[in-house]
């Protein structure tokens, strides 16, 4: 029996106590890392948005930069009373937060954080698990995470949470399609589902690897779709219709208090960080980046530190972009959300996959790429135009309904 972590060289020759210990250490470190990332992301988000809006932001807890504000909020929530509404389904109501947070953590476990290192005499990857099904595992976990949101709304036994959770699940289902298709373009290029394999295919070989080897250039349309779909999938602004305050009070978390509310909050930000980390893995080369030339190539700094540094540098960049979007864009209307997902992103992602497939076949067959690439893109644009012409205009739809 091979375990889910089969790709890791750690399991090449059997299990012993040391290996089990390494796995336990990795699990604890990954969990702690994700929690700390959430803690600092929330602080970072509040600080950056405050800056963009000419405010000071958190400035009390933990020194003049308010760096411990999130921790203080967390402790406050931890000690608050947890209530269960009378009309709620008590078991499902208590279960829902965990259905939300456990998949959020599990999805992060497949992220390659660093390179291949030697730990207590064992070779291993700096990543918790490297299953053969890699990216599919992420999709499976986001599918399970949906239950948390859905059941939270239903089990609350009140109207606004139910509306919020129906909205949330419809949105997550709609954008899952575009999200999955955007990933396919990268899988076609890499030829593997394993996150480690995808990162290895984007290894840093020369100074221009960031454009020639990382997939964000060859799959630029898929990259853009991925970013939009990932934010929509995690219900973050401008796609946070789930908790549109002026329409739904607080969405599916309305009836939740104390620690259970905090768990939903945590899961939501964990998902955002996981999605950014997946974007780094799939499109920006994960931990790949230039090593420090003046230090030995197999020394501790270049083997352990530099890949981790590059991973976090890219992750921080993407996380900053999410904050930027959050601070600048107003919330979409529900029909705009559905139009964008179903009428634009899914189509574009499909066409991007087809263009990628044609270009890759052309490369394998040795066709002239200056003909293949423009011709396939022109074909895709023509199909897109034809589809646009077939779709009824909004005014016609409104007329038909009236």
């Amino acid at each position: 029996m091979r375990l889910l972590a089969a790709g890791d060289p750690l399991f090449a020759d059997g299990l012993d106590f040391g290996i089990v210990l390494i796995v336990i250490v990795k699990t604890v470190v990954t969990f702690a890392l994700l929690l700390v990332l959430v803690l600092f992301y929330i602080w970072f988000m509040r600080k950056v948005i405050a800056d963009m809006q000419n405010r000071i932001g958190p400035a009390r807890a933990g020194g003049r930069f308010g760096i411990l504000q999130t921790l203080a909020d967390g402790i406050k929530l931890f000690f608050k009373e947890q209530s269960v509404p009378d009309s709620a389904d008590p078991f499902v109501f208590r279960l829902a937060p965990y259905l939300s947070i456990i998949p959020a953590f599990l999805a992060f476990s497949i992220i390659p954080i660093g390179g291949e290192v030697s730990m207590f005499g064992h070779e291993t990857y700096l990543q918790l698990a490297d299953p053969e099904i890699g990216v599919l595992f992420l999709l499976a976990m986001s599918g399970i995470g949906l239950y948390g949101v859905m059941l939270a709304g239903w089990a609350s036994g009140s109207k606004y949470p139910l509306l919020g959770s129906v909205r949330a699940s419809a949105q997550m289902l709609s954008y899952e399609a575009a999200f999955g298709l955007a990933v396919v373009a990268v899988l076609l290029h890499a030829g593997t589902l394993s996150t480690r394999g995808i990162v290895n295919a984007q290894a840093w070989t020369s100074w221009d690897s960031f454009a020639t080897s990382w997939y964000w250039t060859v799959a630029v349309v898929s990259f853009a779709i991925f970013l939009v779909a990932a934010i929509a999938e995690t219900n973050h602004p401008p796609f946070d219709l789930v908790e549109a305050e002026q329409e739904l009070v607080g969405g599916f978390v309305t009836e939740y208090t104390g620690m259970r509310f905090a768990i939903f909050f945590l899961a939501e930000f964990m998902n955002l960080i996981t999605m950014s980390a997946i974007a780094v893995t799939l499109f920006l080369g994960g931990p790949s980046g230039p090593a420090l030339g003046f230090l030995p190539a197999d020394g501790t700094v270049n083997v352990w530190l530099m890949p981790v540094f590059w991973f976090f540098a890219k992750l921080l960049f993407l996380l900053f972009c999410t904050v930027w979007v959050r601070a600048s864009l107003p919330r979409l209307r529900y029909d705009q959300l559905m139009d964008l997902g179903w009428k634009w992103l899914i189509e574009l992602a499909f066409l991007a996959v087809m263009v990628t497939a044609v270009v890759l076949v052309g490369r394998d067959e040795g066709w002239n790429r200056w003909v293949v690439v423009p011709a396939s893109i022109a074909g895709a644009v023509a199909v897109l135009g034809a589809l646009r012409l077939c779709m009824p205009k909004r005014s016609e739809l409104v007329e038909e309904e009236a």
């Binding site: 889910l4 099904i133 499976a140 239950y147 899952e176």
Partner: protein, 188 residues
């Protein structure tokens, strides 16, 4: 050894949850228990090295189909407890009889060779090179390409058909006009 332990744990979980699906009074609880069954079987797939199958099981069944069940339950508001009285009397004994026959069939077949002609369930996984995903992809896109494409066309036809049917019923026809007031009855 660990394989046996995991098998019995997951088999017990799957069977217990399956019983729960039938016995639970609340349809949402039934749907949740159904997810438990599906995930337990996915774990059994992983134990058998069929990782791709496990992922597809979770993504398609747990992530999409049961979610749709839940949608219907929530939107149609059928989450009250159903009455168990049966208008068609013959249904219950017929169901029990068919269940017994199906069980006997399964028990009979497990003692014999597989209906597909394969000697055991693992079949293609045991020979050939490459990972699980690669082997499934290879057989799907070479040996079984034709049935695969035909299935795809069938599914597209089903989707388009359902859209056409759903939209047609939305148009106001003469049947929808309420006789007494003369006003059109709004579409459901």
């Amino acid at each position: 050894m660990s394989e046996v332990v995991i098998f019995f744990l997951m088999a017990a979980l799957a069977l217990g949850a399956a019983l729960g699906v039938v016995l639970a009074k609340n349809p949402v609880h039934s749907a949740l228990l159904l997810v438990t069954v599906l995930v337990a079987i996915a774990v059994l797939f992983v134990v058998q090295d069929a990782q791709l199958l496990a992922a597809v099981q979770v993504i398609v069944y747990a992530g999409a189909i049961v979610v749709l069940f839940l949608f219907v339950i929530m939107l149609l508001g059928v989450d009250e407890q159903e009455s168990l009285s049966d208008p068609v009397r013959i249904q219950r004994p017929a169901a029990i009889l068919l269940g017994v026959i199906a069980l006997a069939e399964v028990l009979f077949l497990t003692g014999h060779h597989w209906a597909t002609g394969a000697e055991k369930a693992r079949g293609a996984l045991d020979d050939g090179s490459g990972g699980n995903v690669e082997r499934v992809a290879r057989s799907l896109f070479t040996e079984f390409l034709w049935p695969f494409e035909v299935t795809a066309v069938l599914l597209v036809a089903a989707v388009i058909g359902s859209v056409v049917l759903a939209r047609r019923s939305n148009r106001p026809t003469t049947d929808d006009v309420d006789e007494s007031s003369g006003e059109k009855v709004s579409a459901p």
